[in-house]
């Protein structure tokens, strides 16, 4: 079961490595992770996508909460009724010849993806959506063109409704 864990923590020396270290130390998996400062420069917000049942995620959140630098931890199942989440994808594809370039452009129009850089033989595509949609888009691109390189940001998410993570 894919779960999203949100962590608010103090920006202290080694804080991020303690979070990441805890996952490897206790045998939990990280599918992806994003980290960046918040509106309060002393704090960072981390979003981790992990795989595990409720009991494991409860254990992870308890252990995370125990870390001295961690202020708040919250977790939810990764589904759009709980959480607004987005991932950004850049994919560099071969785009040679008029036909192929048009086909890729049409694909981008359908998915509302953007072409953000071009050379005579390459496109860089940018796509922002949930991880699930990003997977779908990438699959479609691979069927259409030769993929040279991809990079994904990892999930950045915020819980719907009243619940919020602030200090």
């Amino acid at each position: 079961m894919r779960q999203i864990i949100s962590i608010l923590l103090e920006n202290e020396v080694g804080a991020l490595s303690r979070v990441v270290g805890l996952f490897s130390q206790r045998g939990y998996s990280i599918e992806n992770i994003t980290a960046a400062p918040t509106e309060d420069a002393a704090l960072s917000r981390i979003t981790i996508l992990t795989d595990g049942d409720e009991a494991i995620v409860e254990r992870i959140t308890k252990q995370l909460h125990k870390l001295v630098n961690v202020i708040k931890v919250s977790s939810k199942q990764d589904d759009s009724s709980n959480i607004v989440s987005r991932e950004i994808l850049f994919v560099k594809v071969q785009a040679i010849g008029h036909t192929q370039r048009e086909e890729i452009k049409t694909l981008c129009d359908i998915f509302k993806a953007q072409i953000v850089d071009i050379t005579p033989e390459l496109y860089i595509l940018q796509y922002v959506d949930t991880s699930f949609e990003v997977d779908r888009f990438l699959k479609a691109v691979k069927e259409q063109a030769e993929v040279v390189e991809t990079v994904r940001s990892g999930v950045c998410g915020i819980f719907r409704g009243e619940q919020s993570l602030h200090s």
């Binding site: 923590l9 103090e10 020396v13 080694g14 490595s17 303690r18 270290g21 130390q25 002393a42 409860e58 254990r59 308890k62 252990q63 909460h65 125990k66 001295v68 630098n69 961690v70 202020i71 200090s167």
Partner: protein
């Protein structure tokens, strides 16, 4: 404001925190601090012979007193040598602060001489760690380290101080304010009121209750409260290895240690209980055997200061997060409000428990030609009581540790110092030294094995230098007894690497340091010699030649329930 350089600030903060003793080993990255330590009138430094020994001494000091232990070592190998000792303290939640020197900030990351990423190397085995990036961080970080080490679930904290931050010629304001606040760190103290009431009600109604005390009761100074509740409701009390000394062994309600080598009556009582009142324990694997088979009928009330320890292995039905002493006082109050009395159903339960006790699971035979290790422990324990010594007893890890846990009758909290979580051979001797420094008038005994003692025997030099009257008893069977016991039973007597041929003559070793060493190899010498040693005011090492084939019993079968036990050696 007073102007002090970084090294002076280190010493001054420690003085302000009330530190009187620090254990350590100098090196290039801490010479400025050592220079200032020389002038301190309040802090005495003890030079160990190995950094691991230094931190174990601070650990023993902390275990015996409940105060925060302090140690200081240099960068690189100095820091890496402390890793086992830090992990030992972390495993048993012992409060200590370790100051490590670091190469200058400009050299960090360049693979400089004696540079190691101390924060990185120690991260999984400390509660927290600090790197002082500028001199101004020193006082603040040391105060925070002290605060973090000694609050909530206690533990070791490292403060890494680069050489240039200690700079003797850079003077700056010394901020004497002791106020420490850490935005993200607020340990829970009081238990949830509703949960406390539920727990009190469950305890009153229980027909077959057992109290289970862990290290949190000893470290949290909650032994008096445990006694009050136990007496109020006539509850049987079992203990984990770390909980030993948290309840007097002579009390009729005490069942003894539970778990892998626990007592028959403790394991049986827990297995058949309907309510377990667990305080300050983390239900470790050596205590529970197979978790899914653990105490099937019991409703579990679990009090712990660390929420992550609750329902980590054994599922708690009534979890209560908070400080043991505080929560137990809340429980006492709730019991008073309920006008709680001893449940009449307990008479039948105690009758049942007496039947478990009648098994006499600790009985053993005494063949004529060999001394059995159990006899040695029983003898030291008996004489200690007769002579009113109330000793502090440290152990290392192995058979002698389990025999001490089973046969020594502890009466006073904090008098049993052992490595339960990490299981560190080599803790016992330096921990005894630390305890002796903390309590110069106390009788301190280290019970060790011939394997374990050699892990930190270099610290004999510290006993020599300071004339410490520590008593060391080595249960010497010339093998690694605990591993050998496994090999006998599970590996068809294939004794791979458990023979300690090449051991030194321990008596002569003691003599080499100018101490008295005594060997006991006959039963008739046991009592008289031990008595003489216990009464002596001098360091003495006693090498007791014990039976090589004795196994620690009872012994739980792996992956079984609490009552899947082998009771005597013939069963193995």
């Amino acid at each position: 404001m007073e102007q002090l350089n970084g090294a002076q600030q280190v010493v001054r903060v420690l003085e302000d925190l009330g530190v009187t003793r620090i254990f350590g080993y100098p090196g290039a990255a801490v010479t400025d601090i050592y220079n200032e330590l020389l002038d301190s009138e309040k802090i005495t430094h003890t030079l160990a012979r190995h950094e691991q020994g230094a931190v174990h001494m601070a650990d023993g000091y902390a275990r015996a007193t409940g105060e925060v232990g302090f140690a200081i070592v240099t960068s690189g190998p100095g820091a890496t040598n402390t890793v086992t000792a830090l992990a030992t303290a972390y495993g048993d939640s012992i409060p200590l602060v370790l100051i490590t020197g670091q190469v200058s900030t400009s050299l960090i990351g360049t693979d400089a001489f004696q540079e190691v990423d101390t924060m990185g190397v120690t991260r999984p085995v400390v509660k927290y760690s600090f790197l002082c990036k500028k001199p101004e961080d020193i006082a603040k970080n040391l105060r925070k380290a002290f605060y973090i080490a000694s609050t909530g679930r206690k533990g070791p904290v490292v403060v890494d101080i680069p050489k240039d931050c200690q700079n003797r010629s850079y003077f700056f304001d010394y901020d004497p304010t002791s106020d420490v606040s850490i935005r993200s760190y607020n340990p829970t103290v009081f238990g949830h009121k509703g949960q406390v009431k539920r727990a009190a009600k469950l305890l009153c109604d229980a027909k077959k209750p057992v109290m289970l005390i862990g290290g949190g009761v000893v470290q949290g100074n909650a032994t008096q409260e445990i006694m009050t509740i136990a007496k109020k409701l006539n509850l049987p009390v079992a203990s984990t290895l770390m909980g030993i000394s948290g309840y007097p062994c002579s009390d009729s309600q005490y069942l003894g240690m539970l778990g892998m080598h626990g007592l028959y009556e403790a394991n049986e009582a827990l297995h058949h209980s309907d309510v377990i009142f667990a305080v300050g324990t983390r239900f470790a694997d050596r205590a529970t055997n197979k978790v899914s088979k653990f105490c099937p009928e019991a409703t579990i009330i679990h009090i712990d200061v660390d929420p992550a320890s609750i329902s980590k292995t054994v599922q708690a039905h009534v979890p209560i997060v908070g400080d043991a002493k505080t929560v137990l006082n809340q429980v006492i109050q709730a019991l008073n409000e309920l006008d709680a009395k001893v449940n009449p159903a307990l008479y039948a339960w105690w009758t049942q428990i007496e039947e478990y006790r009648a098994k006499k699971c600790l009985s053993y035979k005494k063949p004529e030609d060999v001394i059995r290790p159990q006899e040695v422990i029983e003898c030291i324990s008996k004489l200690s009581h007769e002579l009113n010594l109330d000793p502090y007893v440290t152990t290392d890890v192995g058979q002698h540790q389990m025999f001490t846990a089973q046969y020594f009758k502890f009466e006073t909290p904090r008098h049993f110092l052992t490595s339960g979580g990490l299981g560190t051979m080599g803790l016992g001797f330096p921990a005894a030294i630390g305890a002796q420094f903390a309590l110069p008038d106390a009788k301190v005994i280290c019970i060790s094995g011939d394997g374990s003692f050699q892990m930190n025997m270099q610290e004999l030099a510290v006993c020599r230098k300071y004339n410490l009257p520590v008593k060391v008893f080595i249960l010497d069977n010339s093998v690694l007894g605990m591993v050998r016991q496994f090999q006998t039973v599970f590996y068809d007597r294939r004794y791979s690497a458990t023979n300690l041929d090449g051991n030194p003559d321990f008596v002569m070793l003691a003599q080499a340091y100018g101490f008295k060493g005594i060997r006991i190899s006959k039963r008739e010498d046991l009592e008289s010699t031990i008595k003489e040693v216990l009464l002596s005011d001098e360091f003495t090492l006693v090498d007791v030649i014990t039976d090589i084939n004795t196994k620690v019993m009872p012994w739980q079968r792996a992956n079984g329930s609490m009552v899947d036990m082998m009771l005597n050696e013939e069963e193995c």
